[in-house]
Assembly symmetry: C2
Homo-oligomer: 249 residues x 2
């Protein structure tokens, strides 16, 4: 259920592995169809019409919609089937109010429809309310990747917060960098080796040891020059000041 | 002059290329010595004692100290030699007040003493006040890397701001991610494939197109859960809220 970034790539991967994906659900008909056709599944756009015959139900809709999907499934025979969600930011405990077998199957990665994921390198975090379900999910996860972790609700929530910092927020910084270059007719390509190195350095040590730059060196003159420039971009400036303080400390 | 991260690695590279590095200056005697011994140069810890016989003087001290180094050099015969700095955040125009030949030789990369840089992939941004000096610097840069750019003061300043966003600030986010994991006894290694993918995605599209996560999806419940968690880390929370607003917009 769900044909967004995660649902799309997970659906394709399961199909490629030889798992029989019976149906693809998406409220957006065309999205259900687009994925279903790729993986020999039936498209569904109404939850009450989905099959009750599957062994596993994977909910990959946006976080805020998970509870409502669970409640709808619980009105059918699916109530007693194994149902998991793929969300880092949602606990599984709440699923217990409606279902008897439930858990999470969280691939800790950022997915975009247009980019093929390399599943072997992707950590999958698994949890379930029974030993049997956990075993089923671990077995499936291990066919997808070597990086399988048993992660409970609390741990997953924390991993997800950390993931937002290292991924979504960093990507937003890359976006700011690209925007600055674009506004000034400079090629963002010039910055890409620097971005790659920032990440490569994590192999040599922890990020705290690897920090460099004007804030760390306390190059006050340079920091002032930067802040003056950023006056032009007021929204960015607010961000900058907080970061600076935080870096220096 | 300067045996910090940039001076250290640039000194070694020049020596490896067969450039005769006559002297290494650092106010910290032991730093000058440590580098000098590696590259067959003489260590110097007093500026007024450095040779006047070199063809090129490279200033790789912290930004705030550049002007004072330039002024001291200008009191000797070095006044008419080619002097460059390696700083992204400092203009060259101010060097003209004291010197006749000056410019910049800015390797746009993050350097740490402990990590060997891959010079072939590093963009070097070159500028000088005369055609002849520019030619000399371009020739030298092209021996180090294929990525050589002529970048004037204004462009370099802007590249440097963008570089701080994509490198120093991202690295700070990685540090926050690592800190959250550490506080909760989770292995930061689990997040590294995600970090790598965040960067790999830049090859497929611009960062704006590649954004994912709860802020983009407007998963308000998840955002609230995260903010509640971050109450524990007040300093981080301030950062988070600003980012959130900025991502959603």
């Amino acid at each position: 259920m769900g044909a967004g970034n995660v649902g799309f790539h997970l659906g394709i991967k399961l199909h490629e592995m030889g798992v029989e994906v019976l149906e693809v659900f998406s409220r957006t008909k065309v999205k259900a169809k687009n994925l279903a056709i790729k993986i020999d599944a039936k498209p569904r756009s109404k939850l009450k019409k989905i099959t009750t015959k599957a062994d596993l139900y994977i909910i990959a809709v946006k976080d805020d919609a998970i509870a409502s999907v669970v409640q709808k499934l619980a009105k059918t025979a699916i109530k007693n089937k194994l149902v998991v969600h793929t969300s880092g930011g949602t606990n599984t405990a709440m699923m217990g109010e409606w279902l008897t077998n439930f858990g999470s199957f969280y691939p800790l990665q950022t997915f975009s429809i247009s980019k093929q994921p390399n599943w072997e390198t992707i950590p999958i975090c698994v949890d379930a309310n029974t030993k049997k379900s956990r075993k089923t999910l671990l077995k499936l996860a291990k066919k997808i990747t070597t990086k399988v972790y048993e992660i409970n609700d609390e741990q997953r929530a924390i991993l997800h917060i950390a993931a937002v910092f290292v991924n979504n927020f960093s990507n937003h910084l890359f976006h700011i960098g690209a925007t600055i270059c674009e506004k000034e007719n400079l090629d963002f390509e010039i910055l890409k080796p620097l971005i790659q190195e920032t990440v490569d350095k994590l192999k040599s040590g922890n990020p705290n040891e690897m920090q460099t730059g004007p804030a760390l060196r306390k190059d006050q003159k340079t920091i002032t020059t930067h802040l003056n420039y950023l006056e032009k971009y007021n929204k960015i400036k607010k961000l900058r000041i907080l970061f600076c303080v935080s870096c220096v400390k």
